[in-house]
């Protein structure tokens, strides 16, 4: 009897917390397809707001994808070899390097963005292009790629594989591409999902780094929250959910599968 009561109490509590998280998201989704939110859903269901968002903000959505995939390309090209080097070299210096590249996760984006502006703000051409935002995203997401790949290296016996291939006469580059990278695929995929998801939703850095001609999706969102009617802002948020939730689900499935192994 007493256990039953405790169980029910905890269940109700957990359900309340879940409602706190889910209800606003449902409100936002329904507002995005309602003719008039003030009068409620009975005023009719429409896609006009979604189309309006597309007309107004398609550019921001496109730019977000460009930046997300460019960030992914850079973190792959730079981060995967670095993870290999840090793992192979090991020791105190590798830990210090890992520590330094992880700092951007701890230091608020606002501070990093200010630092970038104070250092490179004078290079007008660079400052005005989307590459400026790219640098911020690369610095912010790099640790996730490097650590994700390093986590795989610590479970696979990379050293034996590497030495085995070397004894067969393979050059370091061939060993890296033919043996190391294929073994790191699970870590690379997990890191890639993380990098793209974080880049698509990044606001703290991007708000400082953007210019009127380089607006990303979250910048557009903030813009619409400040200046558009609630229905448009909600429809825009709806589009963001549609983009980001599949990535989240994929990430979760990945984590579950890794845990199951």
């Amino acid at each position: 009897m007493r256990d039953r009561l405790i169980f029910t109490g905890q269940l109700l509590f957990t359900l309340t917390v879940a409602a706190f998280l889910v209800v606003p998201a449902i409100l936002s989704i329904s507002a995005g397809v309602t003719v008039n939110y003030f009068r409620g859903i009975s005023s009719g269901v429409t896609l006009q707001w979604v189309f309006q968002v597309w007309d107004l903000y398609a550019g921001t959505i496109l730019l977000s994808f460009v930046i997300a995939f460019a960030t992914l390309a850079v973190t792959l090209l730079v981060g995967v070899p670095a993870a290999y080097a840090l793992h192979t070299h090991g020791g105190r210096w590798s830990r210090i390097v890992e520590e330094v590249i992880t700092l951007p996760i701890a230091i608020p984006g606002l501070a990093i963005a200010l630092a970038l502006i104070l250092t490179y703000g004078g290079f007008g051409e660079f400052r005005r292009s989307w590459l400026f935002i790219l640098t911020g995203h690369v610095i912010f997401t790099m640790p996730f790629m490097v650590r994700s790949v390093m986590a795989v290296f610590s479970t696979v016996d990379i050293k034996t594989l590497d030495e085995g291939a070397a004894s067969l006469g393979a050059s370091p580059v061939r060993r890296f591409l033919g043996v190391i990278v294929p073994n790191a695929v699970p870590g690379i995929l997990a890191g890639a999902l993380m990098v793209v998801t974080l880049s698509l939703g990044e606001f703290n850095l991007t708000w400082m780094l953007h210019t009127p001609s380089t607006k990303t999706l979250p910048i557009g969102l903030a813009d619409s929250y400040a200046s558009m009617r609630l229905e448009v802002a909600s429809a825009y948020t709806l589009i963001f959910f549609v983009m980001i939730i599949p990535l989240l689900v994929a990430m979760q499935m990945f984590a579950d599968r890794e845990q199951g192994r």
């Binding site: 080097a85 701890a106 790099m142």
Partner: protein
């Protein structure tokens, strides 16, 4: 990438050691150029104000900045404590019981993980803003519209929204690793359920509390997006830095405050890590 170098007519393959260095080179260049150098510049600019190096003390000595700093710390601490309590109750419950709909419930509690702060701010407006659900309900029930999204309470609610999913995941993982045998032993020795929780379960979860609490605290200290969307007159450090930089064009002050904020966030995480031994990292 070139792997063979021609010297005196013979192909000499690159040694393994130099290949490893070459692998690290791009990261070293990118990190130095776009992180270390800018951060060094930030520290230098912070001391270039009219007060010089003393500018760094302004965060403590200037009454307005100090008030904002205290405000931010109190808000972050409140967020951390409340999130830990909520996440422990819910996380323990979800990990210890199997019932239909459990997986859906877990999914509902963790899906906001990737929402940026701006979106969380907007969701709080939908909940507690001028056209919000809470105001609507309170209007119907008591004839009075409750609106608090744009105050420090709205920001608090937003930070809770932001940190609950992260902390729940950590707590659930920690509960899963608990040794059920210890609890059974305590119970068989006659300990009451409450005593088992207090003396066995909660101490065992200590490292998870420290690790996830530090993330929640550091994230709440530096969160900008939520405060920006709820905007207006909430005095928190990130908003102060932003207004000093963009509206007042006060570069030195905003740089000094940024360095202070970055240092606090980093120190909290580093402390927590040396304490709990695990890997601690904030995100968002």
């Amino acid at each position: 990438m070139q792997y063979g170098v021609l010297t005196k007519g013979t192909v000499v393959f690159m040694s393994h050691k130099s290949f490893v260095w070459l692998c690290l080179l791009p990261l070293a260049v990118v990190t130095t150029a776009f992180f270390l150098l800018p951060m060094a510049r930030l520290v230098v600019v912070g001391a270039e104000g009219p007060q010089g190096l003393a500018g760094y003390l302004a965060i403590l000595t200037e009454p307005r900045y100090r008030a904002t700093l205290i405000n931010t710390i109190v808000l972050a601490a409140a967020t951390t404590v409340v999130t830990l309590i909520i996440a422990t109750v819910a996380g323990m419950f979800l990990q210890r019981h199997r019932f239909p709909g459990r997986a859906v419930l877990i999914a509902m509690l963790t899906f906001p993980l990737a929402f940026p702060g701006v979106v969380v701010g907007f969701l709080i407006i939908l909940l507690a803003g001028r056209q919000g659900l809470i105001g609507d309900l309170s209007n119907r029930l008591f004839g009075e519209k409750i609106v608090f999204a744009y105050s420090i309470y709205g920001l608090f609610l937003g930070y809770l929204y932001f940190s609950i999913p992260r902390v729940i995941l950590t707590i659930m993982a920690a509960v899963q690793k608990l040794d059920v045998g210890l609890e059974e032993a305590a119970r068989s020795l006659g300990a009451s359920p409450w005593a088992v929780q207090r003396d066995v379960v909660l101490p065992a979860l200590g490292p998870a509390f420290v690790a996830s609490g530090a993330i929640a605290f550091a994230t709440a200290m530096g969160a900008f997006g939520t405060a920006f969307t709820l905007a207006t007159n909430i005095d928190v450090l990130p908003m102060l830095i932003y207004t000093e930089f963009t509206l007042a064009a006060n570069f030195a002050t905003s740089a000094a405050l940024s360095v202070g904020l970055g240092f606090i966030a980093w120190a909290i995480l580093a402390l927590a890590r040396s304490f709990s031994g695990g890997t601690v990292a904030a995100a968002g």
